[in-house]
């Protein structure tokens, strides 16, 4: 009984379904078709390139898995026929190279400019009689303030996307590495969120910096 009713209901629904699918289909993205075409062209190009390199596809398979293996048996459980070493060679061939020159130019220019800002700040402080150690300390304080502010405003990660090390290595980047995780984990509370996460990257930096300074001091104390 139930089954019968179910089937009548579902037939009725099927009819409605037809229309609901038709509605869903109304928009065909032209951009989509272009992308699809491009990727198909890409496939063909890669195929041709490979074919030029390897005259017969099966030849390569035999090289990889040995002559006894049937076609298609590239990898089998337990004992991969394709060893990690072989695979690394294949995968590395397709790994995109970092755009090294572009990255370095960006890092140079942005890193240099941040240092120029630091120099201007330090020059201004010197003008008001704050130089030497105090001047240097205050310059870092100002730079850290700027780094923290730009991170809060959501600007620093946009700079970092292009500048890479150019915005990581200056002390503004140190401030960014403190604010970014702390801000994001604020939703986990002010102790384990903000308080703890301030030091996810700054913590290791302080640990190694302070330990290095301790060792240097100790050596200095001993050889004095």
């Amino acid at each position: 009984m139930d089954e019968k009713r179910d089937s009548i209901e579902s037939a009725a629904r099927d009819a409605q379904q037809l229309s609901s699918w038709a509605e869903a289909d109304s928009g065909v993205g032209l951009g989509q078709q272009k992308v699809m075409q491009l990727s198909l062209q890409d496939n063909q190009k890669q195929q041709q390139k490979k074919q030029a390199k390897l005259p017969e596809p099966l030849q390569s398979l035999v090289d990889l898995v040995g002559p006894d293996q049937p076609k298609g048996q590239l990898i089998s459980p337990g004992e991969p026929k394709l060893t990690p070493q072989m695979y690394k060679q294949i995968a590395d061939e397709y790994k995109p190279k970092p755009t090294l020159l572009k990255n370095c130019i960006w890092a140079f220019v942005v890193g240099g400019l941040i240092c120029v800002i630091g120099q201007i700040v330090s020059n201004i402080l010197a003008h008001y009689g704050l130089d030497g150690n105090d001047g240097a300390s205050l310059t870092s304080v100002v730079m850290i303030f700027l780094g923290a502010l730009l991170t809060g405003l959501g600007v620093y990660d946009e700079i970092g996307k292009r500048a890479g090390a150019g915005s990581i290595i200056p002390i503004t980047g140190f401030a960014n590495s403190m604010v970014a995780p702390a801000m994001e984990f604020k939703r986990e509370g002010f102790v384990f969120g903000v308080g703890a996460k301030l030091f996810t990257i700054a913590g290791p930096v302080l640990v190694y910096g302070i330990t290095a300074s301790f060792i240097i001091g100790l050596i200095k104390f001993i050889v004095r």
Binding site: P57, S60, K71
Partner: protein, 336 residues
């Protein structure tokens, strides 16, 4: 076994389950890509009125599931199981979403292959006679995934060219025993394969062997070639993984031409995502928002969808472990 298994890893459904409705929710960035306008709901921003990104992701799953059920003019009481998964620890997005969905939940973790996995398992439940209708769903959110797996979003880091962009999106597929829609004819569940790639910023290379393995297995089990499908579409290999997969398949003696990838399709190259999209939501929204519609419209007849999952955890990648990966395939056929 009643003859439902073919070959080593493939199941053939005796009465193929039908996809009677589907729904998608995406973030604003996904709707600016080539698939713009294909999605059912576009969130105005990454938070969508919630307090945290985690809450947003739960809401996205909830919305997608409810919308799929509503599109089929059914209610939650008509659904026997919800199969859902996401990328967060303890599947929290799905579990929290399921608080407000009165359907028994089967939580699944297949990393980015979750959509294919939930469709495959859901189809098995239906064809096995354990359910009449199930909803298969998967989601990911760019910001929840970034903060769990990589760096805080505001940290000024540079992403390598092989890196992929986690898609903000959720998709739900309503599978039923009877009805009008795309049929799920076969499913091939994959083995976990790890060929030593440990770079979490190059997941395409980590997943490609698993995809090639599942694809070869599927083709061998059914005794067909890749040209038996109008389109073979992988989950989120991105540009790098796609090229490697084609190479591996070529070495195995198969030429892949009618082949594409959800991660490559979802973003425009101008969107600066580098190798393409990734995340559970990537294949979930491309399949439910685009490929199913193409099948319904008759522009595609037979599609093989292979979800690809990189099964890494933040801990394993910090410990320098390589990335185990998996591929799950479902074969889809347009309604006749």
């Amino acid at each position: 076994m009643q003859g439902k298994r073919i070959g080593k890893q493939t199941v053939a459904f005796a009465s193929p389950p039908t996809i009677i409705a589907a729904a998608t929710v995406v973030g604003p960035m996904e709707n600016k890509g080539p698939l713009s306008g294909k999605f059912d709901r576009v969130m105005p921003d990454s938070l969508d009125g919630e307090q945290t990104w985690e809450k947003t992701e739960s809401k996205m799953i909830k919305d997608a599931v409810k919308q799929a059920i509503a599109a089929a003019k059914l209610t939650e009481a008509d659904i026997d199981f919800l199969l859902a998964g996401d990328l967060l620890n303890q599947l929290s997005a799905s579990n929290y979403a399921a608080r407000d969905i009165p359907i028994p939940l089967i939580g699944l973790f297949g990393a980015c292959s979750t959509m294919a996995l939930s469709m495959a398992v859901g189809s098995m439940l239906i064809d096995g006679g354990f359910a009449n209708r199930v909803v298969a769903a998967a989601s990911s959110h760019h910001n929840t995934a970034e903060r769990q797996y990589r760096y805080p979003t505001e940290l000024g880091t540079q992403r390598p060219m092989s890196a992929q962009w986690t898609v903000t999106g959720a998709g739900a597929t309503l599978l039923a025993q009877t009805g009008y829609g795309v049929k799920v004819t076969h499913a091939t569940l994959g083995k976990v394969i790890d060929l030593g790639e440990s770079d979490a910023a190059n997941m395409g290379a980590a997943m490609a062997p698993a995809i090639a393995d599942t694809l070869i297995c599927h083709l061998r089990d059914l005794g067909i070639g890749p040209d038996a499908y109008d389109l073979i579409i992988t989950g989120d290999l991105g540009k790098v993984g796609m090229a490697i997969t084609k190479d591996l398949m070529y070495r195995a003696g198969y030429a892949l031409v009618n082949y594409s990838d959800c991660g490559v399709l979802i973003y425009d190259p101008s969107q600066d995502t580098h190798a393409g999209g990734s995340g559970c939501g990537c294949s979930a929204v491309v399949m439910n928002g685009h490929i199913l519609k193409e099948l319904m419209a008759g522009r595609l007849n037979k599609v093989l969808f292979i979800g690809s999952g990189a099964l890494l955890s933040p801990t394993s990648s910090q410990q320098g472990e390589s990335i185990p990966s998996v591929g799950h395939a479902v074969a889809l056929q347009r309604p006749s």
